[in-house]
Chain length 329, copies 2
Amino acid sequence: MLRLAIIGTNWITHKFVEAALSTGLYQLKAIYSRNKDSAETFASKYPSENSQLFSDLDSLASSNSFDAVYIASPNSLHAKQAMLFMNHGKHVIVEKPMASNYIEAIQMFECAKRNQVILFEAFKTAYTPNFSILKSELHSLGKIRLANLNFCQYSSRYPRYLAGELPNTFNPVFSNGSLMDIGFYCVAFAITLWGKPNHVVGQAIKLDTGVDGLGTATLAFDDFLVNIQHSKISNSYVPSEIQGELGSLVIEHLSECESITKIMRNTNKTQLISNRHPDNTMIFEASYFSELVANKHINHDDILRSLTTIEVITALREQIGVTYQADQN
Amino acid sequence: MLRLAIIGTNWITHKFVEAALSTGLYQLKAIYSRNKDSAETFASKYPSENSQLFSDLDSLASSNSFDAVYIASPNSLHAKQAMLFMNHGKHVIVEKPMASNYIEAIQMFECAKRNQVILFEAFKTAYTPNFSILKSELHSLGKIRLANLNFCQYSSRYPRYLAGELPNTFNPVFSNGSLMDIGFYCVAFAITLWGKPNHVVGQAIKLDTGVDGLGTATLAFDDFLVNIQHSKISNSYVPSEIQGELGSLVIEHLSECESITKIMRNTNKTQLISNRHPDNTMIFEASYFSELVANKHINHDDILRSLTTIEVITALREQIGVTYQADQN
């Protein structure tokens, strides 16, 4: 059993805890929130866990009641918090994106190495069964030529922004914006499949808070292009697609790999190649992380994907002129 | 009745002639091909027209048997041929793209003005009824934020290229390639709706002939982006989309505007807003052109769209390093 602590008490933390507990591999030992009430409310959903509550981060880090921590705080805090815990010998699973920028991510992995702990980025998509199916079917498309990776989801906080407020998701202080939150899935998807692109070009529409509301990017590989679009201020109703010379894979809901259809050019034959996922697809990354920790397994592919993804996102941010406080350090 | 001559005897010329005759507004008076046999074979399909056959371009241009000419020769010849005919007082409808590059297109419109004739680019999409419906529904999407315009069609000539031949469609001598042939529709579509972008960025995968096999582009407007992808070496099976803050339009088969579906974000209500087009959508541009000629009507919107489109395509070609002989002149 992996003894878990959590940082952050919002919806995604609930989703991760539910996923983790449902695998039967985790115990929820500690809950941190700056606000004790939030921690109590969170704990009340999992009464059988008898979790300890913390409102001081250093006390939590020093506690021996858990082995690994799930960090779902604002992006701007990921690096500092993860390093604090790793320096106390804890394993860390941190929500995507890993950090505010590439330099922070490098420091985090150096810290993990020094402390001989596992540092893992919770990019759930790559650990779903349908993503594995997709990977195994790619070769049947012949030479890959073009991919369009599309994730556009109107944020429920956007009306508040339009009303003159500054919700966290559009606040650069938290290292937020469309590319970091949503575009991340497209970039990480491509890099998981094909590694580091030769070069990248990005465009964005910025909001007056300084973060990007939406953007496009092209990742150029030797003989194919990955075309990306992401938005937090408009919705998309069309799937993503990977085009080879012989056929295409059409992917519904990129971050979930909800369904994957293969269409072969010669025959026009359409075939559903994916299976139905459970509602909560975080169970796959939760199982995977517990295995990494149990085996003290350093997976270099995971690390390289995380580093390359934040490297590309950092380069794209520079091009579109979205900068964070963390970039000045 | 508009007395028509045609240059080029390939499938698209047949399609245009069929469209033109079906409107009841045209007579096919003259057929030109370098090869007399081709002209005869072409003419045999339209016996009631009693068209005159030509294998010399200057003789055709000097003939008084027709008022307007449809030019569907290779792109590299459009400018020179169009200007020859306009200098003989003929009206010209020229297949897209207008010319090899922006400078040629400017010269063509100057020539049209000098000779007081109509010069019209056959970008059929803009003249379809469904495109008009789309235009009239755009406002219902709220603020436009992101469009993905997608036209990827595996060329029937690509296997010949792969076998080591040099089919026209991949030959830079004819000012060909994916952006000129296929990407054109995406660029012209955007410019018809929204005018000249603030800036454009393009990427491509080039074939060893020097032309682009596929490409992506972003056209940046004040507060939205148009993301484009086009390919002649892979197929796409997903529609195009225009995203506003309130909803989206999903467009099947961009060049034909085959069907258009509106989806409103708040209600998730999906509504087919288009009608069924006839199989041959060139009838709309054919009717329109005959009207322009009959009324000697100079439509500045059409001219601006043609010029801006080739200006953007020329800029994109420069970025991706696809150059033609015509660019050296």
